[in-house]
Structures are given as structure tokens and as C-alpha cells.
């Protein structure tokens, strides 16, 4: 058994090494700057907790956390919509094979491409509003009005990722024995009962899996879209913590303050992570 242990460590070593050097170490090294006024050019001065004090009263940072919370609250849509779509495709709704193919397109496109396309489509005189006018509706400033901007960007993000989740659910569905569905129908269950009482409960482990990877996507991948579609605006309507950190590092030369934000963000994400890990742990045992 000693042999097994050594081999196991050797097998894990490359992964661990890469992780320590490129992900863990930068995080730790970076956090030291959080206690300085480092501007990236001159020498850093130790200023204790001043950055964190400033952070507490920084309305922009507060807004970024508020926006993050809203985005996380949209998680049920990220998971639920693809779940229902997959179920209907699986059950053979009219046009199912076509939908199956069409829904995959957005997955392969990068956020630069998606962001560029949608900022043209969703601008005030873009094709979306032209469609609205055609339907006799009032045009909406999707990206320029603070009531709609975050919803617009999140919708595009969901659009960009839902195909992936449909795909995962579809593969899970193919493991659901058709006999169970047939038996339920024979017993008089209607279609909606079959979907919500039988099929979806059977997919529970996959729903959890999707929730986990989607949460990661939500937390780490909004940056690109926001950068291109709204630049954080209007006002702070679409500011995300990563975006603010990016601004502080780049245009403002305030690397110390950016590092303090990174620590707070990581703590916040860490809390979510704990919840997620509990879910994964259940899966793991």
C-alpha cells in the first residue's frame, strides 16, 4: 500500500504543481499588496487596513457586490430553462431535432464575438428595437438604461451558455428508462405530471452538477461580456467586482486598493464555494 501512496502523489503532482505556481501563489502574493498604497511604479508604502476602511465606504464597490448578488440570484434561470428545454427536446416536441442543433451554436463563440454582435443588435437603433417597433412596442434602451442594462447583459450571458446545459441535461435524460414514463402514462398521469413529478426528480444529480459548473461560469465569466457590451454602465448598473479591480489596476494605478478588493471578493466567492463543496461532497461519497 505504501507503493500506492507514492504513485498517487506522483500522479497528482503535476496538477498540484501547476495549481500552486500559477493560481495559489499569485493569490497569496497579491494579497500582501492589499495593505500598501502601491501604485505599480513607485515603492509600496505600508498603510495597514486603510484600503479596507476605504472599501467599506466605497459606494461603487458596494454596487458591484449588489450586482453580483443579483446575478447569482438568476442562477435558477441558468439551470431551469435549459432543463425544461432539454426535457421537451427529449420528449420529442415538434421540431426537436432542429432545436437540438440550433441551441449549440452560442457555445462555441467567445465572449468577444458574442459581445460585439449583441452590442450592435441591442443598441437603441439596433435590430431588437426595430423588431419592437414592428410589433408596435415602445423601443427600450437595453444597454443604456440602468433599469435594463444588467438584465440585458445577464440575458446575453444565459444565451451564451444555455446550450451547454441543454446538452448536459440531454445526456442525462438519455439514461432515464422510457419504461418508467410509459408506465406513468398508463397509470393516467398527464404530460406535465410526468415532466415535473417523474423526469425532473430523476435528474437531480445532474441538476446539482449543472448548478455547480454554472455557478463557476457565472462568477468568473461575466467580465468579457460586460467589458464589451456596457463597460460597466450606465452608472454602476453593470459593474462587477472583477471589472472594478481591472479599472483600479489599469487606468487608476491603484494596485494596493485593487488587491484589497481581490481579497474581499475571494472571501465572498469562498463562502459560495463552501456551499458548493458541500453539494459536491455529497456527490463524492
Amino acid at each position: 500500500m505504501r507503493n500506492e501512496r507514492v504513485v498517487a502523489y506522483l500522479f497528482v503532482l503535476p496538477a498540484l504543481g501547476l495549481f500552486l505556481v500559477f493560481r495559489f501563489f499569485p493569490l497569496v502574493a497579491g494579497s500582501v499588496y492589499a495593505f500598501t498604497d502601491w501604485n505599480g511604479i513607485a515603492d509600496a508604502r505600508w498603510i495597514g487596513l486603510a484600503n479596507f476602511r476605504e472599501l467599506i465606504f466605497d459606494p461603487v464597490f458596494r454596487d458591484t457586490m449588489r450586482n453580483t448578488a443579483w446575478v447569482i440570484l438568476s442562477l435558477p434561470i441558468w439551470v431551469g430553462l435549459p432543463l425544461l428545454l432539454a426535457v421537451f427536446i427529449h420528449l420529442g416536441v415538434p421540431g426537436a431535432p432542429f432545436f437540438r442543433a440550433a441551441y449549440f451554436f452560442p457555445i462555441v463563440l467567445s465572449s468577444i464575438i458574442i459581445g460585439t454582435m449583441f452590442s450592435i443588435i441591442m443598441r437603441f437603433d439596433g435590430s431588437l428595437n426595430q423588431l419592437f417597433i414592428l410589433l408596435g412596442l415602445e423601443p427600450v434602451d437595453w444597454l443604456g438604461d440602468q433599469r435594463f442594462a444588467l438584465i440585458s447583459v445577464v440575458s446575453v450571458a444565459i444565451w451564451a451558455h444555455f446550450g451547454m446545459n441543454v446538452l448536459i441535461f440531454l445526456s442525462g435524460l438519455s439514461a432515464v428508462p422510457p419504461e418508467i414514463i410509459d408506465a406513468a402514462r398508463v397509470d393516467g398521469a398527464n404530460l406535465w405530471q410526468v415532466i415535473f413529478r417523474i423526469i425532473i426528480p430523476m435528474l437531480r444529480p445532474i441538476v446539482e452538477f449543472v448548478a455547480v459548473i454554472t455557478m463557476i461560469t457565472v462568477v468568473t465569466s461575466m467580465f468579457g461580456l460586460i467589458y464589451i457590451m456596457t463597460g460597466g454602465g450606465p452608472g454602476t448598473a453593470t459593474y462587477m467586482p472583477e471589472f472594478l479591480i481591472w479599472l483600479m489596476q489599469g487606468e487608476s494605478n491603484r494596485l494596493g486598493y485593487a488587491a484589497a478588493m481581490s481579497i474581499v471578493l475571494f472571501a465572498f466567492v469562498g463562502c459560495i464555494g463552501v456551499v458548493q463543496i458541500r453539494m459536491m461532497r455529497r456527490e463524492w461519497e
Binding site: D37, D145, P234
Partner: protein
């Protein structure tokens, strides 16, 4: 089995080493960073500079790298921090260059021979009298007017508004007689709002107030500042502005709206940009574009020092860690030389900072008017370049909300003043 694993880890470390050795391939290479050399209009200029320089310095290779513009200062920041990367970097004039002054070589004696020929230098002037960078172009903002829209509104197509009253008359006529809006602000990232505010301030403030603002001494809650924002609020309230400003980019969308005669005016740049005369005329038609300086507000045109604010738009600086400083000095001299600047003027409509360039060859009517203004009426600092970095960002945010009616002038000014106070406190 262990041999296999050993082999694996050897391969991994070899790969790492290969990565390391690849980084030092060429010997004498001068690395130049910019944010626009992939633009097909600007590319001929950079090619010309590269060719000229390499011919004069055999054995030296120019490596021209265009960084994505919207990530430029972040990537440059990482380079500055690690003291790795470019020998020469293109910078925007004003605070964007001055805030990074310590990362660049202070240019003084080594450029003494070209300095007298260059306009726009104050935008790169350090407090010690040296320069962060040498300007390539001069830059400023004017209103471009679509003559088709003016005619449709029953106005004289060649009229040039001088005062706020003229401006009001133009906008009211456009509003009442055409479907077009008077002014389109392309405020997607919030920058165009800042430019319009600067243009209003230019027409409103006395020379003293301007100097105070540039020195970062003007309070945002002062009457001078409030007057500027009230004027902006008036433009919003009267419905002169194109709807949806926050979703339009100033360089493409706003220009397209202008070219499509859906708006009468845009505030554009005078040099090397898609919203400067060359592209605007290409799209709207030569002779169809009028040019107006920011109008005098609350004073007569005679009281307003008859000026167009112009400074160095973009310029080349040498990074403090560069191993090839002498070559780099030669490079930037080549880059701002009359011959090179002429190429930029030709292809991209860049107005050269080098006064030795013959601008009389341009036959665009709009450009001719701009050059006339440059010769008669310029002032060498632009309000726009001297917003403090934190205030600038705050104004980008709040301007968008002011346009949509989600905040008030008072709230904007108070918020900006507290940001300014915080900046002052931190500087101590």
C-alpha cells in the same frame, strides 16, 4: 513505471525551459507598443516609420505591437510593474501620460533639436520641465454639422453658431422642423459626455477659471462648474439630444447617425479618429459637413477668448527600463518627423504636431476650416485632458445617469467633489 513518470516530468520541465529560451531570440529589437496600428487607415504610417528607421539603423528591427485599446493601460501597467515589455509606448496626452510619468524617461536635452518644431507639447510636460512623450498629432474637439439637416430645418447651411443663442436657434429649428435630433452624444463608455461637458466649459469659463481647473483647484460645487452642468441639463430638458446615447459608441454609432442625417451635430475630434473630419466627410459627403467651435455661453464671442483648445493628442514615450534608449530616442524622432506625420495626415487625416508639415495640401473643406482655426485661435491645453483620473471615471458613470434622468446636477456635483477631496487627501 517510475521511469515513465520521470520521463513525463522531464518533458514538462523541458517544455518550461523551451519556453524560457524562446523569449530571447532576436538580439537588437526595439519593441513599440500602440493601440491603433491595426487600424487599416493608420497602419501605413507605422509601416513608414518602421521602414525609415530600419533603413537608417541596419541590424535593428522594430517590433510593432498593437494592444487592444480598451485593455491598453492595464497591460501597460503590468509591463511597467515588471519592468518588461516595450521600449517605446504610445500614450494619450494629459493626465493619462502624466500619471505614468515616472515609468518613462524624462525627455529633455536629447530631444532639444525637435522640440521647437512641435505643437501640443504641454500635454506631455512634466513638472520638472522635461517631457513624458513627444506628440505625434494635435487633437481637439469641434462640432461637426450636417448641412443636409441644417437645410431641412430651414437654416443657412453655411451658418456657424457663435453663441449659446445661436446654438439654441439651431437646435430649436432642427427639433421643430425635422425628424433629426440636434446633437448625438455617443456615450457608451461615458467618455463623450465628458467631452461635451469640456466643450461647454470651454465656452463658459474665463481664462482664470480654466487655469484653476487644470491645476485641479476648481471645486465641483463651485458656481463656475454648476453653470456648465446647468447648461447640459438644459440641453437634456429641451429634448435636443438623440435618445439612447448610452448605447452608442462615439466613433462608429454616433458618426453613422450623423452620416445618415438623423442628427444635426456631433462633437467630434479634429484628428486621426473615425469621428474626425476625414471619416465624417467620407461618410456624409465632402462639402456636406460644417465645422463650429464650442460656442460662447454667458459671454459674447469677443469676451470668450476666441479659441479652439488643442493639445498633443497622442505621443511616443520611452520606458524607463529600456535597454536601447538611444535607439528609442531616434525612433520617436523618426515617428514625429515631418515626413512620417505627412503619411499619417494623408491616410488617416491626422493633423501633425510637427509644424514643418505642409497642411495646405489638404483639400477637404472641413479640414481647411479646422486648419484656419488652428492658425488663428488655439489654446494649448484642453480641459478634457485634465480631469483627475478618479473624477473622470466617476463622471463617466454619473454622466450616463444624468442623460437618462436618473440623477440630478446637484447629486452629480456633490459626488464628484467628494471624490476630488478623497484624491487630494490620498495625495498627501
Amino acid at each position: 513505471m517510475f521511469k515513465r513518470i520521470a520521463l513525463l516530468s522531464t518533458i514538462t520541465s523541458l517544455a518550461l525551459a523551451a519556453g524560457a529560451s524562446l523569449a530571447f531570440a532576436a538580439d537588437k529589437t526595439l519593441v513599440v507598443w500602440d493601440f491603433k496600428s491595426t487600424d487599416p487607415l493608420v497602419k501605413p504610417y507605422f509601416d513608414f516609420v518602421k521602414e525609415t528607421f530600419e533603413k537608417a539603423h541596419p541590424g535593428v528591427v522594430i517590433k510593432q505591437i498593437a494592444q487592444p485599446a480598451d485593455s491598453y493601460y492595464t497591460v501597460l501597467g503590468t509591463a511597467i510593474n515588471a519592468k518588461q515589455g516595450p521600449d517605446v509606448a504610445l500614450l494619450h496626452g494629459g493626465n493619462q501620460a502624466l500619471d505614468r510619468a515616472d515609468a518613462f524617461v524624462p525627455l529633455k536635452d536629447e530631444v532639444a533639436d525637435v522640440v521647437p518644431k512641435l505643437a501640443g507639447l504641454p500635454a506631455f510636460l512634466r513638472s520638472d520641465g522635461a517631457y513624458v512623450a513627444l506628440p505625434l498629432t494635435v487633437q481637439g474637439a469641434v462640432y461637426y454639422m450636417n448641412k443636409e439637416v441644417l437645410r431641412e430645418a430651414g437654416l443657412d447651411a453655411d451658418m456657424v453658431p457663435q453663441t449659446w443663442e445661436d446654438f439654441t436657434a439651431v437646435c430649436e429649428a432642427i427639433k421643430s422642423k425635422t425628424k433629426a435630433s440636434c446633437l448625438t452624444i455617443g456615450n457608451k463608455d461615458g467618455v463623450d459626455f465628458i467631452n461635451v461637458i469640456a466643450a461647454i466649459a470651454e465656452g463658459t469659463w474665463s481664462k482664470e477659471t480654466r487655469a484653476k481647473f487644470i491645476a485641479h483647484d476648481l471645486s465641483w460645487t463651485s458656481d463656475d462648474m454648476r453653470a456648465v452642468f446647468q447648461t447640459m441639463q438644459t440641453m437634456i430638458d429641451k429634448g435636443w439630444l438623440e435618445k439612447g446615447a448610452n448605447s452608442y459608441s462615439p466613433y462608429t454609432d454616433a458618426v453613422n447617425i450623423f452620416a445618415g442625417a438623423r442628427t444635426g451635430l456631433i462633437l467630434g475630434l479634429i484628428s486621426d479618429a473615425p469621428n474626425s473630419w476625414k471619416n465624417v466627410e467620407d461618410l456624409a459627403g465632402s462639402g456636406e459637413v460644417g465645422v463650429a467651435m464650442p460656442v460662447a455661453i454667458g459671454q459674447t464671442p469677443e469676451q470668450k477668448p476666441n479659441r479652439l483648445e488643442v493639445d498633443g493628442g497622442i505621443g511616443f514615450g520611452i520606458t524607463s527600463w529600456s535597454q536601447n534608449k538611444d535607439l528609442a530616442v531616434d525612433y520617436i524622432k523618426t515617428a514625429v518627423s515631418p515626413e512620417a506625420a505627412a503619411v499619417l495626415m494623408e491616410t488617416a487625416g491626422g493633423l501633425p504636431s510637427n509644424e514643418a508639415v505642409d497642411v495646405s495640401t489638404i483639400d477637404s473643406p472641413a479640414a481647411k476650416e479646422i486648419i484656419r482655426l488652428l492658425n488663428c485661435c488655439t489654446d494649448d491645453k484642453r480641459i478634457k485632458s485634465y480631469y483627475g483620473v478618479a473624477e473622470r471615471r466617476e463622471l463617466q458613470r454619473l454622466g450616463q445617469l444624468l442623460l437618462t434622468g436618473d440623477t440630478t446636477v446637484d447629486q452629480v456635483l456633490q459626488s464628484l467633489e467628494s471624490v476630488r477631496q478623497a484624491e487630494i487627501a490620498r495625495a498627501k
